[in-house]
Amino acid sequence: MSAESKASRVILLIGLAAGLLVFLIGGGLAHTGHLGPGTAVAFVGLWVLVCTPLAALVAGAFKTNRLEFRRAVFTLLVLAAGLFLGLKK
């Protein structure tokens, strides 16, 4: 396995496990009557899950070369701009 694949894989593995775990903890809390905190924790889990592929992209690019890394960061910046503009609308 190449270094870039390994870097992406590690991030994906950690992100998937952490995201699902936090989401399930949130669901458990909500189920036991703590609806507000449970929902908040569940949303944190969802955000962790959603950010995982993006982080894996950057990690893989970082291990490839500087050009790839810049390209990946630029992609993230475009997404961030899209999110920002979408919120302002």
Binding site: S5, L20, G27, L49, V50, P53, L54, L83, G86
Partner: protein, 259 residues
């Protein structure tokens, strides 16, 4: 949602994930029409929940493909800029079309076209050939336009976009089918993550819908991918086609305004 509905939604997502996983398709193509038809959920919530489920299934399949060194990360990186722009655009267009009678009909019509493409993909798909990721792939300009369209479709309809990505990478980039499928699986995760992020920020994600969808789709895809080798190919393909035809009927009915 009632506990019964939650369990039902989880089971439908599991079935969609399992069926999709057997053919390397995301479950979104079955899940989205089923959720709208059987659970009467608003399109926005359905699309957002499906995209989050697709993120999880994409991560799981990427883990396997990355281990085998089949994902061309450099190629994915080059194509993803356009896909992400498409995904953002798709989510914006979706916000305008969702919950409006005419908009919903347009979406249903578009979904019907994607289902027909999926059936075509199912029967015309080449067997995965040998070959690993390589550095000498040339990306034709049309490929950028194609993956942009894939991004739009993904965020708009709540599907992965593999139906567009795989042929694009195979035909317009010239990568081996196995590499195309692996790279597409990785790209789908980033695309769906971009769309999900927008829906999350807009408050379109309902954890009570996203939870069972995410877990059902994720577990179903794992089961589907592992059991596909034990099930007869032709019969399975036909049964999947029957399911897709039913989904086509549902979407066609909505598009024509009779559903």
């Amino acid at each position: 949602m009632t506990p019964e509905e939650t369990i039902g939604l989880g089971l439908v997502a599991f079935g969609a994930g399992a069926f999709g996983g057997m053919f390397g398709l995301g479950g979104g193509i079955i899940l989205v029409p089923a959720m709208k038809e059987w659970f009467h959920l608003p399109t926005e919530k359905v699309v957002a929940a499906s995209l989050i489920g697709i993120v999880a299934t994409s991560i799981a399949s990427s883990l396997v493909y990355l281990k085998r060194d089949l994902v061309d990360l450099s190629l994915a990186n080059r194509l993803l800029l356009m896909t992400v722009i498409g995904s953002v655009a798709g989510a914006w267009i979706g916000k305008m079309l969702f919950n409006q009678a005419a908009g919903e009909r347009v979406l249903a019509g578009l979904f019907a076209v994607i289902i027909i493409a999926a059936m075509f993909f199912l029967f015309r798909r080449k067997e995965a050939d040998d070959g690993n990721a390589s550095d000498d792939l040339r990306v034709q300009p049309a490929a950028y336009g194609s993956v942009f369209g894939g991004g739009v479709i993904s965020s708009l309809l709540g599907v992965g976009g593999g139906i567009i990505n795989v042929p694009t990478i195979t035909i317009l980039v010239g990568a081996p089918v196995r590499v195309s499928m692996a790279t597409s699986a990785f790209m789908i995760g980033v695309t769906a993550a971009s769309g999900s992020a927008i829906y999350l920020m807009h408050g379109s994600v309902d954890p009570t819908v996203a939870g069972p969808t995410l877990l059902g789709l994720f577990l179903g895809a794992q089961v589907g991918a592992r059991t596909s080798r034990y099930v007869s190919g032709k019969g399975l393909r036909l049964s999947f086609c029957v399911v897709l035809l039913y989904m086509l009927f549902l979407q066609g009915r909505r598009a024509l305004g009779v559903g």
